[in-house]
């Protein structure tokens, strides 16, 4: 076994383009997943019961099946029901919906964990429902759910690797293809391991920093 650094250097531009796609899809899916997840959690918490039940069903299905199967279904099954997306939009949509399901569960637990007394007090002083959400629930919840959100973001980085199966030109797909071309299989695997490990550790570190910054807002 030999490790050839020159292979990595020669392919640097391609590797960087793959990294860019990975980072872009990850950040976009995480951001949209948080927003969509929050909406779902809020609808389940405050919306009419039948809607809540329907959303719960969707969330359970998304959390109970592998991401790989979801992405296969979306990409290869989609055209049969008139949804023919290119790899990158399909990957982005799939990862966002997947992330939203998990984020919504985190937020739901967050809503439930905010002390009832705080909400009641807000009611008493005449805050509207929207104000309660914006001024009481969201800030208090943010502190409660932050560690789990960071955790989920970390899981999402790793899930982007799965998108290579639908020909998304992200890091895993690009780097393993270079590895195959150059017969540098193990080099490619080591490089991938280091890249994701670094991303995950960096994400965890960033999460801890934000947590420390926000800790002054801890109410509950």
């Amino acid at each position: 076994m030999s490790f050839d650094v020159s292979v990595v250097l020669a392919a640097l531009p391609a590797i960087l383009s793959g990294l860019k796609v990975t980072l872009g899809i990850w950040l976009a899916a995480a951001a949209m997943g948080v927003v969509l997840g929050f909406v779902v959690a809020a609808l389940r918490h405050f919306g009419p019961a039948p809607l809540g039940l329907a959303l719960r069903l969707v969330v359970e299905v998304l959390r109970g099946t592998p991401f790989l199967v979801q992405i296969f279904l979306l990409y290869f099954g989609g055209p049969y029901v008139g949804l023919s997306l290119d790899p990158v939009p399909a990957g982005l949509l799939g990862l966002t919906v997947y992330a939203a399901a998990y984020f919504s569960e985190i937020f739901r637990a967050g809503f439930a964990a905010v002390p009832r007394g705080h909400v009641e007090a807000a009611h008493c002083v005449g805050l509207t429902r929207a104000q309660i959400v914006r001024r009481i629930l969201v800030p208090e919840m943010t502190m409660l759910v932050l560690p789990q959100c960071v955790n989920m973001a970390v899981i999402l980085v790793k899930e982007t690797a799965v998108l290579s199966v639908i020909a998304v030109p992200e890091a895993t797909g690009v780097i393993s293809a270079i590895g195959s071309q150059q017969y540098a299989f193990l080099e490619a695997l080591f490089l991938l391991a280091v890249i994701y490990w670094g991303l995950v550790e960096a994400c965890g570190w960033a999460g801890r920093m934000i947590e420390r910054r926000l800790s002054k807002f801890r109410f509950a």
């Binding site: 076994m1 109970g64 099946t65 279904l73 099954g77 049969y80 029901v81 299989f185 995950v200 550790e201």
Partner: protein, 214 residues
Amino acid sequence: MSPRLFELMLKAAGYTVAISVAAIAIGLLIGLLVCAAKLSPRPWLRWPATLFVSFFRGVPLLVQLLLIYNLLPVLGLAVPSVVAALIGLSLCTAAYQAENLRGGFTSVPRGLLEAADMAGLSPWQQFRRIRAPIALRLTVPALVNEAILILKASSLISVVGVVELTRTAQNLAASTYEPLLFYSAAGGLYLAINWLVAAGGSLTERALRRGRLA
């Protein structure tokens, strides 16, 4: 879907369950080991355990599996497909389970252990009768969660040559030109399995709370 193909899907689901169950069990053992090392006062035990957890939680399972399948034989350790898949899934879940267990062990109230000391229980007795049961009870929900995660993660082991549920669906989707049907069926089977695991988990939890187990 013809009965014959449905049977194939069911068999593949059985395979998925078998490998996942084995991985979770082995992962629990390794997780205990890693947890023990992480709780150890010795840095030369603690440091590698921390690295282990960080690595197996930081690298996508897809990459881990390929590394195990393609690297271990080069280092002189023959690992056929199933073994490689089992090692990959076990080590990955071990890293997560070690953290869950550590959470469990560190939340055993100190007072209980002090009382046990006073009552003259040996360290092994303390471990078996107090620390382990309490930690286990505290980590059951996390363990159930982990089981579901591993069942889903096992969809990736076809990259090292194990034909499980997802791969079977992929094969049949291609040969019958019915991706919608076969991927939905695979999703339905995963859902059913995970629902059973979750139901079993909450039953166990209830039993543990009543003190019938452990």
